[in-house]
Symmetry: C2
Subunit: 205 residues, 2 copies
């Protein structure tokens, strides 16, 4: 795979391992700042204080508060993807992939409750980043479902059905994460098993 573009603003990508580490510290501090205070109440000084870096260091990597927020949205999106990817490797079939992906996502949000605040606030602060996050996530799910369909595992109801399924699964995962990961806690595997039974054989008795 191609190396992903740096989260830094244009022309400000770090050139050393030490620079990469500082950039990471700023992103982690931005997550804590935006996650706790929201975009409007957050400040660059609040971020640099949390990261224990000088104000000038911030501007070495980012142009503005908006820029670091947009970088954080892409970063959280990648973190979710990278957390889930290894969890689905032992799946027995296409629907088992979705069960493992949901269980892994539920565990991720318990430890990263701020992810909801960040992605949700992006709708207002960084609308394009918000849309890209959900579109790329849905495309990833749609590709997995299409692969399982072409193997004959899933009923083939055409392209629109595949896209409807992908967006339905994503919405399901987002709301199960909010309810059973952020607002209160429930065993991730048990929740994922119930959701997966619905996907596998439906709800009819």
């Amino acid at each position: 795979m191609a190396r992903p573009p740096s989260p830094a603003s244009k022309g400000k990508a770090p050139r050393t391992a030490r620079g990469e580490k500082t950039l990471r510290k700023i992103l982690d501090a931005a997550l804590a700042e935006f996650g706790q205070r929201g975009f409007h109440e957050s400040s660059i000084v609040g971020i640099t204080r949390r990261a224990r870096v000088a104000l000038g260091t911030f501007y070495t990597y980012f142009d503005s508060k908006e820029a670091v927020f947009a970088a954080l949205v892409r970063d959280m999106s990648s973190q979710v993807r990278d957390h889930v990817a290894p969890a689905i490797e032992g799946a027995t079939d296409g629907l088992d992939v979705e069960r493992l992906a949901l269980a892994s996502y539920l565990r991720f949000v318990v430890d990263h409750k701020e992810v909801y605040r960040i992605i949700d606030e992006a709708e207002f602060v960084d609308p394009q980043g918000f849309r890209t996050h959900y579109e790329t996530t849905a495309e990833r799910i749609a590709a997995r479902l299409a692969a399982a369909t072409s193997k004959g595992e899933l009923r083939d109801d055409g392209d629109l059905a595949n896209e409807v399924r992908a967006w339905a699964l994503m919405g399901m995962n987002v709301f199960l994460g909010l309810r059973f990961g952020v607002w209160s806690h429930e065993d991730a595997d048990e929740v994922a098993d119930h959701a997966n039974a619905m996907l596998r054989k439906g709800l009819e008795s």
Copy 2:
């Protein structure tokens, strides 16, 4: 059913039909103002100008910009519920209820695209209202599913399964509305049919 509390601030409920009409005008104007400009850029003057009422009239009914926003969240939540309720009356069984509810919701959001901006921004402006909206919506779905289960229509996997199903359905509906109602348009019945086939018999071939 008990009469719902007035959307007006405490002690400011209108006492005449004319007052009710003015309150409605203010809420509709608030929807346009908040929907287009977002909470932070919106102003009470912007709302009264759109509603063509005097600034003092606003304060006859609401204490603040926060108060009218919170009232609008409850109002949109009720509008969704009231729009969907008659659509599900002709349902043939419990899962047909969910098909008709989704199709009706998809039609609603095409004509009320601002509903997403309002409910989503409530997470930051009126967190309690945001949570109440989703919790009451999920409770409504859970009650419908539990009724269908007790009639023997749906597989009974216990209380947690019923709650997981309700939150999964709600998330599915929210994201299908965003994708196929707000961001682009697709035939509501076709989308609802595909989603419903998944709920009814699952995805396995």
